[in-house]
Amino acid sequence: MVYKFLFDVGRCIDCKACEVACKQQNDVEIGVRWRRVPEIEGGKYPNPSRTFLSLACFHCSRPYCMAACPTGAIYQRADGIVLTDKDKCIGCGYCVMACPFAVPEYGSDGLMQKCVACYQRIDKGLDPACVHTCLTGALAFDTQEVIAKIKRERVAEKVIISP
């Protein structure tokens, strides 16, 4: 059983509730943001476009960060959640260079930190804070099988409801 996030770009309204829920539930220090919602602007007036992406660690199946970590500080649980052992981290930054999404950040202690998928909540059977607070269902977190199923269903719904 391996967990994954789902992000549905069509549903995201840039409200940043996920960002702040993450910060307060995990007590993330100011200046570090485990989840961010960047905006991509496009088009020309009167046909502009705005796209919002709620991004955090993807908890990759083969995490480059983990492979690059020289001290073995980054590890992966059996359920796929990628975590960091602060006692082993030396703040070298190899993980930042290795991550294709530039997810890892440094805290004021100089050590790496990133999304932990609210593993304490997961272990209690709860959703991660960002998913729990998402007002539009743009974020979901579940086993990779369920996530794939949700995605397929949403695509199917769109096909059905569009003429």
Partner: protein
């Protein structure tokens, strides 16, 4: 010039985790663990540490309450541990949040643990606004305020004391009791720069204000006239609108700016600012001409269709095209889609546009809904249901003979005196018209920042003998006050209950999660103490708990009910069954397309279009609005570490072509100027706005240096806006604001 900042605000920013450690380890150990301790005198920690030392360590505890980060008051579920708020989420049983909160609701710990909080009563020592304060005991501060109030009352009469409070406070009935007992008619909320004209339009058309009661979730065709639902997030509306879009409803959104809501719409119409009513009238013209209205509904439940039919003839789509910049064919198509897709709904807006004809704009949208018969049905607008709460009967109030200073109801007969027109107060103070106002009590409101024309307000403040601010943070108004009385936050207090109106009413209670920090107090206690000191203590001859229990009594429950239950639910069916058997509170007992109430008061009974002012040559219309992470003038979101990190400064949105004409580059600071003010702001050159308008996010440019996170950042839109009023509903025509934009030099 360096401004002295010694309200005692500021100091080390304490994260919740640090704070937990701090309370566990005690003062000495904790202080050594915090950087910047030198800037944070020991005395500030006294109150901070006290509760945790006194109380034994407690296990995790859940408290249900009500959010207060914005006016929507969503239900919250707070996890506390060892006297500290640990985390916060939505109350899953509360019908709006359904367990989910917006960014602001999620940021609560940055309000309660904000080191910039007002920590103890303060009395001004230097000039107003110069930042000289002395720390006072509560007795000193309350005696000072009471002495001044008695003096003003003796010299000028009780009417020369005005009260402003924020309109969605649970304390509204008790502050109202204080006002009536004091004997002043001059009570204000911020609705004069918000939805007051919409309230008047609702009353004139539907017989009562229906709040935000739009059943998005069941609608198949949704029209929003600038109602930026996704960036003014009422959690319930956001979830319902999003669900509607997901299930295939068509969303048509009109706004001169491409907001987040616009980006989720099927059709964005960059309508010319201030012309929405022309669009609505042309839609009605098509719907009536084509016979697409709901005849049975019109005949049974509405008054004045024949008058409307005759009136609407000239408002063709071709006429509207020249006014709105929207092609006639598009208006015609949308009108037909709206009338033939069931159910279709047009949101009647909140604070629609800010024009002198705002009441009629709101009425136009309400009439549009009535034409397709979609009122009190699934997927339509509806009359929200409430329940009555009890009261502790006050002794007889003194008779108030003085008129209000804002011309309500003389000049503005339809504006409810329970809100008044606060934007007209500064002129009344300055001109002493019709009599001097010498005292102003501001409870958790921020008139200096929330009302238009800041320089004028400061001028008015100078004429006051007493300005009291009861607040959590050193807001701009507090900074200019004579006395600041620190209130505790919504996580540190019980409050009178709240009726959640909706399809089926519910009642929620704000409950105390942790002990009040520092020397902050509940506003009930503050008003009660003041009442006792000015001889009206007999109106507050009870404790807050007595009042809460009296309010809950008709429901057959008391305060303890909420220890076990997160919400009280009525057994009224949530089903929307149309209007059959419903009493409509207009003079005709029907929905008034032709308003008898407006007619009787000398106003146009039909929604005649009044064109907005044209921009003077070389000037642009200044639009203002919100973003999802901030609320109005409330410093609790702007001076909030989590929210400030996301949005710390506003920008001026300028269309790319306009910017090219002006030689303005994206990201550079440009001057904004009109006859009232001049200031610099960062330019955001974008495709997301009409070329003839510029946009500024509201809520920046604070004056109070003690709001350390937000002070000195961005520009205040209100500096450029003139105070005024829609002659019918009273809202300040904030949309009629024009500015020049230019580069340095």
């Amino acid at each position: 010039m360096e401004v002295r900042t010694n309200t005692g605000c500021g100091g080390a920013r304490v994260s919740r985790r640090t704070f937990t450690k701090l309370t566990a380890l005690g003062a000495a150990a904790a202080l050594s663990g915090i950087s910047n301790v030198g800037a944070y005198p020991m005395e500030h920690f006294d109150k901070l540490i006290e509760p945790a030392i006194a109380a034994p360590a407690e296990a995790e505890r859940i408290v249900y309450g009500i959010c207060e980060m914005c006016p929507f008051n969503c239900g919250i579920k707070v996890t506390c541990e060892e006297g500290v708020v640990k985390s916060i989420e939505g109350n899953p049983n509360e019908p709006h949040s359904k367990g989910k909160l917006c960014a602001r609701g999620n940021s609560a710990e940055q309000v309660i643990y904000n080191p910039n909080r007002v920590k103890y009563p303060l009395i001004r020592t230097g000039e107003r606004g110069a930042g000289g304060w002395k720390r006072a005991t509560w007795d000193e501060a309350l005696d000072y305020v009471a002495g001044k109030l008695n003096e003003i009352k003796g010299n000028y009469g009780p009417e020369s004391i005005a009260i402003i409070q924020f309109p969605t406070s649970r304390m509204v009935p008790l502050v109202g009791r204080f006002q009536k007992a004091l004997g002043t008619p001059n009570y204000f909320t911020s609705l004069g720069t918000c939805k007051i004209s919409r309230v008047v339009a609702d009353i004139a058309t539907l017989g009562g204000h229906i709040l935000n009661a739009v059943d998005f979730a069941n609608a198949k065709y949704i029209m929003l006239f600038g109602r930026n639902t996704f960036e003014t997030p009422a959690t319930g509306s956001v979830q319902a609108l999003s669900a509607a879009i997901t299930s295939g409803a068509k969303l048509v959104y009109l706004d001169p700016r491409y907001t987040v809501t616009a980006s989720k719409a099927d059709e964005w119409i960059p309508i010319k600012p201030g012309t929405d009513l022309a669009f609505v009238l042309a839609m009605m013209n098509v719907i009536i001409r084509e016979g697409l209205y709901d005849e049975e509904f019109i005949n049974t439940y509405t008054y004045g269709f024949e008058e409307l039919k005759e009136f609407i003839g000239e408002y063709t789509p071709e006429w509207a095209e020249g006014i709105t910049d929207v092609p006639a064919a598009q208006i015609e198509r949308i009108a037909i889609e709206f009338a033939t897709t069931k159910p279709a709904v047009a949101h009647p807006n909140w604070h629609p546009k800010g024009y002198e004809s705002e009441t009629q704009i709101s009425r136009g949208i309400l009439i549009l809904n009535a034409l397709v018969g979609n009122i009190n049905k699934p997927g339509g607008i509806f009359y929200p249901r409430g329940v009555g709460l009890g009261d502790i009967k006050p002794p007889a109030y003194p008779e108030i003979t003085a008129k209000r200073v804002d011309g309500v109801p003389g000049t503005y007969p339809l504006v409810p005196a329970s809100h008044g027109l606060w934007q007209l107060l500064p002129d009344a103070i300055i001109n002493e018209d019709p009599y001097p106002v010498k005292g102003l009590i501001v409870y958790r409101s921020n008139p200096l920042f929330g009302m238009p024309d800041r320089n004028r307000i400061i001028e008015a403040f100078k004429k006051l003998d007493l300005l009291v601010a009861i607040d959590i943070l050193p807001s701009d108004t507090a900074w200019y006050a004579d006395v600041i009385l620190p209130e505790c936050t919504y996580l540190e207090r019980d409050d009178p209950p709240m009726v959640i109106k909706g399809k089926s009413p519910k009642v929620a209670l704000r409950q105390q999660c942790v002990e009040p920090m520092y020397d902050s107090k509940h506003s009930f206690w503050i008003f009660k103490e003041l009442a006792q000191r000015i001889g009206i203590g007999n109106y507050f001859d009870f404790e807050l708990d007595d009042y809460i229990n009296a309010q809950l009594k008709p429901l057959g429950i008391d305060k303890d009910y909420f220890k076990e239950n997160s919400i009280w639910s009525s057994d009224i069916s949530p089903e929307l069954k149309g209007l059959e058997g419903m009493k409509i509170n207009t003079s005709t007992g029907k929905i008034e397309l032709y308003s008898k109430k407006l007619e009787a008061n000398g106003y146009d009974p039909l929604p005649t279009f009044v064109p907005p002012k044209e921009a003077p040559s070389g000037m642009f219309r200044l639009l203002h609005g919100h973003i999802a992470v901030h609320t109005h003038a409330n410093p609790a979101t702007f001076d909030n570490a989590y929210l400030n990190e996301i949005c710390s400064e506003n920008e001026l949105w300028i269309n790319t072509e306009t910017a090219m004409d002006l030689g303005i580059m994206n990201g550079e600071y440009v001057w904004v100027e009109n006859e009232l003010s001049r200031g610099k702001i960062k330019a955001k050159v974008t495709e997301q706005i009409r070329p003839d308008a510029v946009f500024m996010l509201h809520g920046f440019g604070h004056l109070s240096p003690d709001l350390t996170l937000t002070y000195g950042k961005g520009l205040n839109d209100n500096d450029f806006i003139k105070a005024g009023a829609d002659p019918i509903g009273g809202v300040c025509p904030m949309g009629e604001t024009f500015v020049r934009i230019y580069r340095e030099g």
